[in-house]
Assembly symmetry: C2
């Protein structure tokens, strides 16, 4: 059976791509980064989707594979495009100068071997009093961000930690034992570069604190650290009074699937998975009407606040530098979801070109979400009540110390939420005993968790009742008291201004500014207004790095809350295609917006940047309770009434709740 | 058994209060509004609570009852205080001049009888072409807000609607048939006052549109309206593909109760219920440590945006004008909650002084809330995962057309959320066929839903590790790029400024301003910082009415996002004690803040105003899908680690999920 044009490449297709690329380069060793399908141009994809929807025979767009990789000893990455229908390479090119593909585990492991063997590294370990504890020492390979020395070589930096020396348990939380130096490694030349020492004196340091290594000869750098374990196997005991809580669906789930096409409660959409973005939702319709063409998490920038070199270099683009699909967890039953679960798989490639068939990278299940609507007629006392059921599609990324849980929630009321939970372990750095620092918080003795931000960019390709849409800026208009027009001063109204050309806006709470994405050609017959979906945005601080900083030029997408651009094929990445060690955001949303193209009643893309400015708490250690954020997309005059009016009422016969009687545990009044 | 000092009055106690008050007034007829217990002064209550907590014999504060009521034909309400230990009245007083107690159903019903019998009303009905349809006509008694004519008499205004004339079904949605006039009624003199005609011409009206009644002689005002039903008994059919979803707790719930004292997962608190506030949470501790003394929804203002008289007078204080306890639904099993439910009851009084023992006004149950924390050690591939269980306490108010669902969520991670869901039916007014209006949206033919706001004020009486606390204003400090101090421009930090004297602040997203409530005398041993709880506030527009308007002076609490005051006994109501037909907010949070008292390291109260500016959508009719808001209170360095670290890991054995296999419904890749 032919794959759906939005299916990720099958294992066989990945093998074909890899073998063609290898053949092209003859006997050279290749280091693969990405092997993915190329999403068909919208001009071919939309007719395909519409034909399927209409029950007609679709014209299947050509199946195109894509690879990026290093040819051994090349300074630049290469890219190749493969015609999978004919099994031929159509194009091979070097990536733009100054760009670097994402980092990967194989490179990081290679780095560790070289670093750990280097005499300078060994001397640093000795100086830190860890010579006898080398078996406990661990190193997280990090992207070398903020290329402050403006060198072209591709670098990795290592954040150094150790396992609890008492146990050296493989699950020991290394982030409780930070070691105060950073080895730097040249990925291309596979060479150790240098050791950078970290400032550990807290508020007593000035920025020159990185001259730390001159302070003393030898010392026990982890003397004041203590074990601080999160892993169940290292807990002394657990609470025993949390009773089981099971979700039972005796008649099975309410959804059905055909391939990756999901149908649930008038919603229909296609589940996609890419190396770069992880989970993608395509072709969302409600009761046969187009709503969104494509929904994806486009990028995330994670800059840290500590200005003391070398840790100012902690700045990750978790999608561009690592890959959402690469980092996706394989989820397991009874852990990551509760209830009746359907899993989706996804295929990526390992650096050697071997396909990795990842199991269960996305899970889907229904969830009860409280009350959807209720009204009691006070004249009769009769309540009417409907519960809110949602369909959850969830994926979880592990990016070294940190975890992100991304979920799309489809609701009975026609709304779609994107929920993010930030969890995992906060990144720590060494701090001397008894010291504190304004750049972070001591979360465990000797472990400073620096303040940082996570600025996400959600990419929304709308199709509100069709593919030509307009982003309306909605603002509240207030009126002065006036005897003729506003005699009692209570007036206010909602005013819309369309985005005419591509650009950006920021939120203004005083004006209640928000965005409504409308189809100007479709009028709601009840209200006489244009059909639309409102973006329930998050009003959060954006990038805090100073004007003119590398952070701002590299993550321009994170400097405004909302961008509107005209659609271009393959323009999926807010921070640009190549983020790793970038100097500047290239071909990202800033550049797309700067094209100054028409976005009124056109094929537009809406990009929402928002985030979490994370001042860690002691409670965020040894593992962080989920910090939850939610973006809300809700219909505004898209329907002619509450679309959940035909959901059966909530009844005890259906829900089977149980009352706790007073004799069991409680006294009533 | 003696009642707990925080228990609401028992039925017997209400009878005692009523009988003493009646006796005091001899043969006069009384109309009761409130009979409630008086919460003991904090100086007596706190030692009581602390003694109980310490397992000592507490000194029970005197039990004091309170009543407010009309003595028939009196212009002002009266108040009485009753010593319930001795069964004596200690004080009776007239309420302050110019104040009015809340409205009630008996008054509204009395109003209808008079109104419906009045010749002017009958003439208006005739003019609207409804003479033959009087059996379908309904009137909602509303508070007469914005006393623009500055009269003292206590008025009610009626919003006029009709049931579907085809069915005249008792559950017919009257808000689909708005009638364009407002009868005004004098409550005290039980007299019809006048008919006010409403503007119905949409954007073609100017403010003088209220001269509508001169336009034509007789017309069918509901000719263009259509039935738009929400009630299940009036639906033609329901969707059939939503499968049952049950929550099963085979070992029962994890909570225990003793009276109204609840224990769950190291949390302990007391559930209270008052006539004015409805659900109140008292004496919240975690693992024996004080966290919050009292949590309550203090007030809500609901101003409407249409300036055309008389509908500018739509402005409700749902707590002060109606009473959260009075409006609380009696909840039923299998409808309002899902799972294993414990209910709490509450007692109020009817206007005749008869106790009403309301059943199930608060429900409590556990809920799975997704993933609390997860980390996968990428070195070993071992995931560790704990699910987020919450304990939900929920109450639901019906205020005429509208519903509010208020819930406190206690979490395993030491956080507490307050969730609000706004649902029910939007208030409508008549609009001519084919017209639209900038003051609202046509949600059904002939029915305009005016724009409005719901500004809530959450009252937080903190007790962070003790009763003397400080509200710290947290702001992000950014730094210019500077070769010495911020060479790469990435620096930012968190700065705290304490509130020294009572006052207010507003949110500033650019500064990431928020509030951390700390105990300056308790230092976290890990971080060296003060223990605290952060207010995860909602950054929403506040009151939009113009400067100098009645709305602003009446709802001053709704003009700033956060207030900090010094605690005073009985000072519970942000909008003042007497809101109905008020001219001005008296003894509300503005006045408390204006006392300019010390609030540093003192017994403080934090008040958070936030809300929903509701531009209705067609989807909000015939009943509105819940609009969800959440305020988050989370520990900041209150604990020495993530308090949920000892929660057992999430396992399939415990959770018993079910996988949907591909053979059943899906194809895998």
């Amino acid at each position: 059976m032919a794959p759906h044009p939005l299916d990720c490449l099958s294992v066989e297709e990945i093998k074909t791509v890899v073998s063609l690329v290898k053949k092209h380069h003859g006997s050279k060793t290749l280091h693969f980064k990405t092997v993915n399908n190329v999403e068909p141009p919208k001009a071919l994809l939309v007719p395909y989707l519409e034909a399927v929807r209409a029950g007609k025979t679709p014209i299947t767009p050509p199946r195109v594979g894509y690879a990026n990789y290093y040819v051994l000893n090349d300074k630049r990455a290469s890219e190749a495009w493969i015609d999978l229908n004919n099994g031929t390479i159509t194009n091979v090119a070097e990536a733009k100068p100054g760009t670097h593909p994402p980092i990967d585990h194989l490179e990081a492991e290679g780095a560790l071997k070289v670093i750990f063997a280097d005499p300078q590294f060994k001397a640093a370990i000795k100086k830190c009093g860890l010579e006898d504890k080398m078996h406990t020492v661990a190193c997280d390979g990090w992207m070398y961000a903020c290329q402050d020395d403006a060198v072209f070589p591709r670098y990795l930096q290592g954040l150094m930690y150790a396992r609890d020396p008492e146990t050296n348990h493989p699950e020991s939380n290394i982030y409780a034992y930070p070691i105060p130096f950073v080895p730097v490694y040249d990925v291309l030349n596979k060479q150790f570069v240098r050791i950078d020492w970290c400032a550990t004196g807290g508020d007593e340091d000035d920025v020159d604190g990185f001259n730390y290594d001159t302070r003393k000869e030898e010392f026990d750098c982890l003397e004041h650290c203590v074990a601080n374990e999160y892993h169940p196997s290292l807990q002394k005991s657990f609470r025993t009074d949390l009773k089981p809580y099971n979700v039972v669906q005796p008649e099975g789930p309410s959804f059905t699937c055909e391939g990756n096409t999901v149908s649930w409660q008038k919603w229909k959409f296609i589940v996609g998975f890419t190396t770069r973005e992880g989970m993608v939702i395509h072709d969302v319709t409600y009761d046969g009407r187009n709503v969104f063409h494509r929904l994806s998490m486009s990028e995330m920038a994670v800059p840290y606040a500590d200005p003391r070199p070398p840790l100012h270099r902690k700045m990750a683009f978790d999608f561009g530098d690592c890959g959402g699909g690469n980092c996706a967890n394989e989820l397991s039953l009874g852990c990551d979801c509760l209830g009746t679960i359907k899993y989706f798989d996804g295929n990526i490639v390992d650096p050697n070109g071997k396909p990795i068939a990842k199991k269960n990278v996305i899970c889907m299940h229904e969830q009860d979400d409280g009350i959807l609507w209720k009204h009691t007629n006070y004249r009769t006392g009769a309540p009417a009540i409907v519960r809110r059921r949602i369909l959850v599609l969830q994926t979880i990324l592990t990016v070294a110390n940190y975890e992100y849980i991304f979920a799309w929630h489809f609701s009975l009321d026609g709304s779609i939420d994107h929920e993010i939970r930030a969890t995992g372990i906060v990144s720590t750095q060494a701090i001397d005993a008894g010291k504190t620092s304004k750049w972070g918080v001591v979360v465990s003795p000797g472990a400073l968790a620096a303040s940082h931000q996570h600025i996400f960019c959600l990419r929304i390709d709308p199709a509100i009742d069709g593919y030509n849409n307009t982003a309306m800026v909605a603002e509240t208009k207030t009126y002065p008291t006036d005897p003729e027009t506003n005699p009692n001063g209570n007036a206010f109204s909602l005013e819309y201004t369309p985005f005419e050309t591509s650009g950006f806006t920021d939120w203004d709470v005083t004006k209640n500014r928000y965005i409504n994405i409308v189809n100007e050609n479709k009028i709601n017959p009840i209200s006489g207004r244009k059909v639309g979906y409102k973006l329930g945005h998050l009003t959060t601080p954006l990038l805090l790095a100073s004007e003119g900083s590398h952070h701002r030029s590299r993550a321009a997408f994170a400097t405004h809350g909302l961008w509107v651009t005209k659609h271009r094929d393959q323009e999926f990445y807010a921070g640009g295609v190549w983020t790793n060690q970038s100097f500047n955001e290239v071909d990202g949303v800033r550049d797309a917006a700067a094209r100054n193209e028409n976005v009124r009643d056109d094929d537009i893309v809406v990009w929402h940047s928002f985030g979490l400015t994370h001042y860690p708490r002691v409670e965020d250690f040894p593992v962080m309770p989920s910090e939850i954020m939610k973006v809300h997309l809700s219909p505004v005059d898209f329907f002619t009434a509450n679309p959940a009016i035909d959901v059966p009422p909530s009844t005890q016969k259906f829900n089977r709740s149980v009352e706790v009687l007073e004799s069991k545990c409680c006294n009533k009044l």
